[in-house]
């Protein structure tokens, strides 16, 4: 195997130095054998990224295919990302495909032989933003998130700076700033709703047994895992539908149902407490 690797490596460097295109079909190990030398920074960025850490699923060939003549253009298609990121109807993809960017990319995919930079495309596909200029560290424009509070300021600023450098291929600086600021405030309102629910749940867990709180807990989970995530995706992918219908009013609904479940438990508890000292209830009524 290692001999084969060495031969391939030699072959690659020969073809590269000769300036001719590499042809043929390659397995992942062969890609790495060559590109570790040729593009060490790129491969290192990939290794450090989430894609690199699950090597079995997001290898070079997962996105690029194994036909060297089409490696770049193939990986630049949105379709390369969709299958792993929840499918076309999953919130990650759907929030993007219904956005104006997603729509324009579907209608005008452009010449995928062009690098992912300098407004070479009518609108940004997945990779244009997340792997701008071929950056293989896909986390550059993704921030971590938690349901109850915003990410630390320095991480936010780092990611926003990276995003800004992509957006400004087409959009004016003030427009970008206004959208970013608005997005932060929109997310903070979502966080407020989750924190409001968290405070309610904390009190409820002190007042009631876990078995009685199943309904409320389920709504709380859905609020944190689903609806707050929708809001993040709506802001990140500029989808009004996910910011609103799948986001804010859904969070409102969760708050209503959590409160409803707790209110019902309180009424049942009040009834039970009378039942325990039964007798007085009927007496009270006759008095």
């Amino acid at each position: 195997m290692s001999r084969l690797g060495t031969i391939l490596l030699m072959l690659c460097s020969i073809t590269a130095t000769a300036g001719t295109r590499v042809q043929g079909e390659f397995e992942n190990s062969a890609c790495l054998a060559c590109h570790d030398e040729q593009d060490s920074e790129l491969v290192a960025a990939w290794r450090d990224s989430a894609h690199g850490s699950v090597e079995t699923t997001a290898t070079c060939v997962s996105c690029h295919g194994n036909d060297h003549a089409e490696v770049a253009s193939r990986a630049r298609r949105d379709a390369s990302c969709i299958a792993c990121h929840g499918g076309p109807r999953g919130p990650v993809v759907h929030s993007y495909t219904t956005s104006k960017h997603g729509v324009l990319v579907r209608l005008e995919p452009g010449d995928r032989k062009q690098p992912l930079s300098s407004a070479n495309y009518r609108a940004p596909g997945c990779a244009y933003c997340h792997m701008h200029s071929g950056n293989h560290d896909v986390a550059t424009v993704i921030r971590s998130w938690q349901p109850e509070q915003a990410v630390a300021v320095d991480e936010r600023e780092r990611v926003q700076d990276a995003q800004r450098s992509v957006c400004q291929d087409c959009h004016a600086p003030r427009y970008i700033t206004n959208l970013f600021d608005n997005g932060e405030r929109m997310l903070e309102i979502g966080h407020m709703k989750v924190r409001e629910a968290a405070a309610l749940m904390k009190q409820a867990r002190a007042d009631h047994e876990a078995a009685a709180l199943q309904d409320a807990e389920q709504h709380f989970l859905r609020m944190k895992q689903q609806h707050m995530k929708n809001l993040y995706l709506g802001v990140a992918h500029q989808s009004p539908d996910y910011q609103w219908w799948h986001g804010q009013p859904s969070l409102d609904g969760d708050l209503i149902r959590i409160r409803g479940a707790i209110g019902l438990l309180r009424r049942l508890k009040a009834l039970e407490s009378v039942e325990k000292n039964s007798g007085p209830a009927s007496e009270q009524r006759t008095q």
Partner: protein
């Protein structure tokens, strides 16, 4: 017999003479606040609103000084924002054909970089007067409408009542009234692009208007998905030009820039009489349109099918509404109207709290700060019902079936909950238990207080 002058005849005249100008003055005054629309004094806009309602909020950037002509704009923006220059270069504005001058940046945005303007339909209408005229004309058909969409949003109770950063997405779509590039995206402004169904889906998607899903799943939509890439989208939306109809082919037939003149069931939130004389005119328009491909009788049957589906839906919605109104009459909603967080800008609500149930009481804005059973009805009415409607209107039987199954389930759950509330109340009365006041549970909390103080 002498006629004494009846002095008090002047009282109503004086009142009328004062009230009418006062009314006008009040409306003007209420529109002169920091926001926009009838409730403008109650809110402050987010900075991004400037791009979605330029007439109300846009102010030019002042970072660059000087006056510029077309080629000078391009020279700079080629480096600053190359994407929009690429777009413009490929647009008809840049190469309008022999004998016509190119439409440069400055034609729409102005020359003075300190006083740039964001183009509104009026600006586009300076050249595209036919389309702009049709767009304006749409207003006479009332809601739902593209040209009235912005005021619909600005004057919605929940838009006024909620923090503006929360309701930003409303304006993102409702700005279709104030910017042509909602459909003809900047800076290509392509007619062909707006003819594609995808041009509509950024706004026409999601639970209350799954127009995208219902169309793509219909026979029309499946033909489009299979063959649409090969069609010549530069052709007008006219008989013989397309093998299957798309959103714009039906709703903006012949490229007419209004979508409201054939709308029978409207948004789908109200029960109407589909057989009234005005609707008969609209029905005939549909039949004529469908006749581009279908037999008139067949088209009439399809439209009757939609009416029948709506009748079934409204019988279910009517049942649910009746359950809720009976609960309200018996004071069984929990929390009752006075026990919830109020809508901050609704003064009537603060002196006379009342649960809003159904279209005419404004339940479209009452999806928060309400009891769970009201929210369940809101979702049945706004999501299940509207999904079924769009399924029936666009020809997606699966969506109709799922929407009605969801409505059946919601109705059963609403009846169940109502029975529980009733039983609980009976038990409390039998045992002499005071129903615990839910006030503190419902009126406090970080977001609820923020909304009350800083909406």
């Amino acid at each position: 017999m002498s006629h004494k002058p009846v002095w008090y005849i002047w009282i109503p005249l004086i009142i009328v003479a004062i009230a009418i100008p006062a009314g006008f003055f009040y409306v003007d005054w209420s529109k002169s606040g920091s926001g926009a629309g009838l409730y403008s004094r109650k809110w402050v806009p987010e900075a991004i609103f400037a791009y979605w309602s330029p007439d109300d909020f846009y102010q030019s950037v002042e970072s660059v000084t000087g006056e510029f002509e077309g080629e000078q704009c391009l020279e700079c923006h080629e480096a600053v924002t190359p994407g929009i220059v690429n777009d413009w270069r490929e647009s008809r504005h840049s190469s309008p054909g022999a004998g016509t001058a190119a439409v440069y940046c400055s034609a729409c945005h102005g020359n003075d970089h300190q006083q740039l303007r964001m183009p509104t339909p009026e600006v586009c209408g300076e050249c595209h007067s036919v389309q702009h005229g049709q767009f304006e004309d749409e207003k006479r058909f009332g809601f739902p409408s593209h040209s009235l969409a912005l005021e619909r949003a600005l004057e919605a109770r929940h838009f006024v009542d909620k923090p503006k950063a929360e309701v930003t997405a409303c304006l993102n779509c409702h700005s279709v009234a104030s910017k042509c590039d909602s459909c003809h995206t900047r800076h290509r402004f392509s007619a062909a692009e707006a003819r594609r169904p995808e041009a509509c889906i950024t706004c026409h998607s999601g639970p209350p208007h799954p127009d995208d899903e219902t169309f793509f799943a219909s026979a029309h939509g499946r033909i489009y998905l299979a063959e649409g890439e090969q069609w010549d989208w530069s052709k007008p939306l006219r008989k013989g030009n397309y093998r299957a109809p798309t959103c714009a082919y039906c709703h903006m037939d012949e490229g007419k820039h209004q979508v409201a003149d054939k709308s029978i069931w409207g948004f789908g939130l109200q029960q109407i009489n589909p057989l009234g004389s005005v609707n008969e005119i609209k029905r005939n328009k549909w039949v004529t349109l469908c006749s581009d491909c279908h037999e008139p009788d067949w088209s009439r049957q399809q439209l009757s099918g939609l009416d029948a589906e709506r009748k079934r839906a409204w019988s279910k919605l009517g049942d649910a509404e009746a359950v809720l109104k009976t609960l309200r009459a018996d004071d069984l909603l929990y929390p009752a109207a006075g026990e919830r967080a109020p809508y901050p800008n609704d003064w009537l609500d603060s002196i006379h709290p009342r649960a809003r149930i159904g279209f005419f009481e404004g339940q479209a804005s009452a999806f928060y700060n309400v009891s769970p059973i009201e929210r369940d009805y809101f979702e049945m009415w706004y999501f299940d019902n509207l999904g079924a409607y769009k399924g029936a209107a666009h020809g997606d039987a699966g969506f109709v079936q799922r929407g009605h199954a969801a409505m059946d389930q919601s109705l059963a759950a609403i009846k169940d909950q109502a029975a529980s509330l009733r039983r609980l109340n009976e038990m409390e009365q039998q045992r002499g238990v005071q129903r615990p006041a839910p006030t503190e549970l419902w009126k406090s909390g970080e977001y609820t207080e923020f909304n009350r103080e800083q909406n």
